[in-house]
């Protein structure tokens, strides 16, 4: 199977500090891949580098056969990679619908945009109820759903999520992960960064463990969840 996303030798520096070094990872079409690691290990940096939000020092990035190392963030979004940022970052003073419309910024035709928004709303009935409400008035879980919905309006081939469970109640986290499973069933490939390693490994097919800006482990999610070292470090024992 050909890799949908192929990252080779990725290096990112902040000033003189090496944040990522020699990161190799691949995501195949239809997979769910989790990136795990402690705070500061480089998970978010990896995602931001893929989305074109950080300058890359070295390495190559290929998406569906296209080398996009030199693409800007907007061009990468048009390639079909949608990034749900850490902390959700919905446009709080805009309505739910306006937020979703911005997700389809690259979609020129109004009718097409409306169809896509309706599809997304069918996945998130809660958002449908709140369609005319200001996003700032939504609960944290609803905002996370809106952030995911906004990314989905672009109909990405690859959905990249940064800590979708951050700061949410367990019940809401379960709902969000259920939605991600549903989105995956509909044919979207997913990469997610998670502190909540239990939930992430339960969802993912494979996982990478990052440590100090390098890939420390690379295995199937099931093996990682069983590995005593991983369990001790990232799953809080058991």
């Amino acid at each position: 199977m050909n890799a949908l996303l192929d990252v080779r030798g990725l290096e990112v520096r902040y000033g003189g500090i090496v944040a990522l070094r020699g990161i190799d990872f691949r995501v195949d079409e239809g997979e769910i891949v989790a990136l795990l690691g402690a705070n500061g290990a480089g998970k978010t940096t990896t995602l931001r580098a893929i989305s074109g939000l950080l300058p890359i020092r070295a390495g190559d990035l290929t998406f569906a056969g296209t080398n996009f190392r030199k693409h800007g963030a907007d061009a990468i979004a048009r390639l079909g990679i949608a990034h749900v940022p850490e902390g959700r970052r919905v446009f709080t003073r805009m309505t739910v619908r306006e937020n979703l419309e911005l997700g389809g910024y690259a979609v020129a035709a109004r009718r097409e945009l409306d169809v896509r928004i309706d599809e997304v709303l069918s996945i998130f009935p809660r958002l449908h109820e709140r369609i005319a409400q200001r996003a700032g008035t939504l609960s944290g879980g609803e905002q996370q759903m809106l952030a995911i919905g906004r990314a989905l309006v672009a109909q990405p081939r690859l959905l990249v999520l940064d800590e979708p469970s951050l700061g949410l109640a367990p019940l809401i986290v379960a709902q969000i992960f259920e939605v991600l499973r549903d989105i995956h069933r509909r044919g979207t490939t997913i990469v997610l960064v998670e502190q909540n390693a239990h939930a992430a490994l339960a969802l993912a097919d494979r996982g990478y463990v990052l440590r100090n800006g390098e890939i420390a482990r690379n295995d199937t999610a099931a093996n990682l969840a069983r590995d005593p070292a991983v369990v001790a470090a990232y799953l809080g024992g058991e």
């Binding site: 907007d74 949608a82 940022p85 805009m94 306006e98 910024y105 690259a106 008035t137």
Partner: protein, 358 residues
């Protein structure tokens, strides 16, 4: 007389803002336009319409700056620079300075293009700056441009500027000494600026600006080309100012560097703050109010004091004090401006959101 016109225009703007019915809004706007076009035949004199023509130029400038500051959220404190570029375009290319006498109408468009070009040139190096840092760089640009015009004596006449600019003509009919042609052109300019502003706000570019203003990183995540959108805001905003500059220079038949100093930039920003940044109708009201205060009310109070107390005070010397007082008052009592748009109102009244959440 001038107050009657200003009152009618402002009242109509407030009515447009208050009505929610789209057709009612359009009807009021058309009625106002018809009134402003026909009324000069019956009421008023050259002096009144001279002030109104200046007011109209300022409305255009404010609408242009509104695109940069109000729509895209880029605080530009050097906007007068583009006004100067527009005015000097006319000054240098339609005067005895170089013996060039290009037609007024051509220069209107050329100045818009040149101002847009310089808008983009200024924008390019500042794109990565935010908030205060951006404001400081634009402030510098606003100082540099008049300085350049002042010191390129060979080309711009230096501190004295360029005088005896060509009087425009329309199909062979010279404008002569009348201010009425400028009044009508400025009115048309406002109509065009309003139309462009409105369409831009509803366009994809307008949505991109809104997203960038709200959260630049999130805008990038949504696939918006932030750099290009910001450059477009600078260029389009500046082009309004370029046209305003040509009108201003032709009406005055004079350009000199001191006409485009920092105070002009501050005046235009004050108009936006007073009226309600980002809201097109609010910006029109804010710029009308300040121009009327500046060019009609203050001189009148001067002469009133003069005749009643037999002392001369010149209030125009302290007009910055008066703007300052107005701005402080606005910040205290209505920080979102007189006629704010929805987003801006929310920005200053978070309690409304909190209640909705509870």
């Amino acid at each position: 007389m001038i107050y009657a016109y200003a009152f009618v225009a402002i009242a109509a703007c407030v009515a447009i803002e208050r009505f929610h019915n789209r057709r009612a809004k359009i009807a009021i706007a058309l009625a106002l336009a018809a009134f402003l076009a026909i009324a000069p035949r019956f009421y008023g004199n050259e002096a009144v319409f001279s002030i109104l023509a200046d007011a109209a130029v300022y409305v255009m400038l404010a609408l242009g700056l509104n695109i940069v500051v109000g729509f895209a959220g880029l605080l530009d404190l050097g906007y007068a620079a583009f006004f100067a570029i527009g005015a000097y375009t006319y000054g240098m290319l339609a005067s005895p300075q170089f013996g060039l006498h290009l037609p007024f109408w051509v220069l209107l468009f050329l100045a818009a293009a040149l101002a847009a070009l310089f808008g983009a040139l200024l924008g390019a190096p500042t794109l990565r700056l935010h908030g205060d840092y951006l404001a400081i760089v634009t402030l510098g640009f606003g100082e540099i441009v008049p300085q350049i015009f002042q010191n390129l004596t060979k080309y711009t006449g230096g501190p004295n500027g360029i005088a005896a600019l060509d009087i425009p003509s329309f199909f062979g009919h010279s404008f002569g000494a009348s201010v009425m042609p400028y009044y009508y052109i400025a009115l048309l300019g406002i109509v065009a600026a309003l139309w462009i502003s409105r369409n831009l706000r509803e366009s994809r570019l307008g949505r991109a600006w809104m997203a960038i203003r709200e959260d630049e990183l999130a805008a990038k995540h949504a696939g918006i080309n932030v750099l290009r959108s910001k450059l477009a805001a600078f260029a389009i905003g500046a082009s309004f100012s370029g046209i305003g500059g040509v009108l201003f220079a032709a009406k005055l038949a004079l350009v000199s560097p001191d006409l485009f100093g920092f105070q002009v930039s501050v005046l235009i920003v004050s108009m936006l703050v007073l009226g309600g940044m980002g809201n097109i109708v609010g910006v029109v009201v804010g710029s009308l109010l300040l121009t009327i205060v500046n060019s009609a009310l203050l001189p009148q109070i001067n002469s009133l004091v003069d005749t009643t107390f037999h002392t001369t005070i010149d209030l125009s010397n302290i007009h910055f004090l008066i703007y300052g007082a107005i701005l402080v008052g606005i910040m205290l009592f209505r920080p979102e401006g007189l006629l704010p748009n929805r987003e801006r109102r929310d920005e200053f009244h978070h309690n409304g959101e909190a209640e909705a959440e509870a």
